[in-house]
């Protein structure tokens, strides 16, 4: 069911942890707010120590990250945030109790836990959308959106989320299947799995 991480040699496995170690090192230095030798050496020791002592599967994006795209993503995110903040705030002030909403199904095309998580995360931050449910297998998000007044709003929200997905995929250097929609309506074997899952 789960793909266990393959075990090549130690070295390459260690190599895959380098990004994490670098991040931890950076974190350490930032926290201390100093760049003295003690901090640097200590930070390296701490980072390596933590990674070695508590081994976890490596985190590698499916492709080569694109710094520019990532920057673009960040900018988009921030503007989205401001926009979403304004919308919601306005809703709260203007409509309050009578805010209409809907739950929208958004099929995704990326097929990676990391990316789906990222999309869900960003979606939750975009204006008026909160991810209610994630169907990982069939790559769908169920998004609670607000305000939604009509069917057109629903479609727009769906495409908004898919736009975010595209941006994320690009930032992560992830192109494959970006335009391919998720699998169609339920297959019989899925139903079986689900009911089994319910029983267990």
């Amino acid at each position: 069911m789960n793909r266990r991480p393959s075990h090549p040699d130690r070295f390459s496995q260690g190599l895959r942890q380098v990004p994490m170690i670098v991040w931890l090192w950076l974190l350490w230095v930032l926290l201390w707010g100093a760049t003295s030798a003690v901090v640097l050496v200590g930070g390296l020791l701490v980072a390596v120590g933590v990674v070695l002592l508590f081994p976890l599967p490596a985190v590698l994006p499916g492709g080569v990250p694109r710094p520019l795209r990532a920057g673009r993503l960040l900018v988009d995110l921030l503007t989205d945030l401001v926009k979403s903040g304004c919308t919601v705030a306005w809703q709260a002030v203007r409509h309050g109790r009578e805010t209409p909403s809907a739950i929208v199904e958004v099929p995704l095309s990326v097929d990676s836990d990391l990316l789906i998580a990222a999309v869900a995360r960003l979606t939750t931050m975009t204006p008026g959308t909160v991810v209610i449910e994630i169907d990982r297998r069939r790559k769908r998000l169920y998004v609670h959106a607000l305000p939604v007044r009509d069917q057109r709003d629903i479609a727009r929200r769906r495409s908004d989320v898919q736009a975010v997905e595209r941006r994320v995929a690009r930032a992560a250097g992830h192109h494959r299947g970006a335009e391919k929609p998720g699998p169609g309506p339920t297959r019989p074997d899925d139903t079986r799995r689900q009911s089994r899952g319910r029983e267990s």
Binding site: G85, A89, A102, I103, R121, I132, Y142, T186
Partner: protein, 130 residues
Amino acid sequence: MTTVLNAVTAVLFPAGAAFCLLGALGLLRFPDTTSRLHAAAKAQTLGLLLVLVGAAAQMPGRHAPVLLLVALFQLFTAPISSQIIGRTAYRTAGLDRDLLLRDELADRLVRDGIPLPGHDRPQRDDDAER
């Protein structure tokens, strides 16, 4: 330099505070749990980010990055709880179905032939209503 930073702060602080207030208002005014989640997840986070950036502008150099780090962590963690709360709200009937224009998740479930478990009115925790 300082003037620029001061100006940044002078803009960001009230803006951030305002978003906080609006978010809180939303939290108070929105009709059901899921809707309130919007206020909590976004207005709040935004307000906080603005305030943090504004604060970072005033901090001595070595501490400013840490404030940005805080912002980063907040951005990273806030959606997590939002999503979990959101899904819990849906699963436990924490949202008011009457307010939904459309529920595609329920549609999907009906399509799959999975009956929604008895989703009547959510059980309230409030005792003040007694």
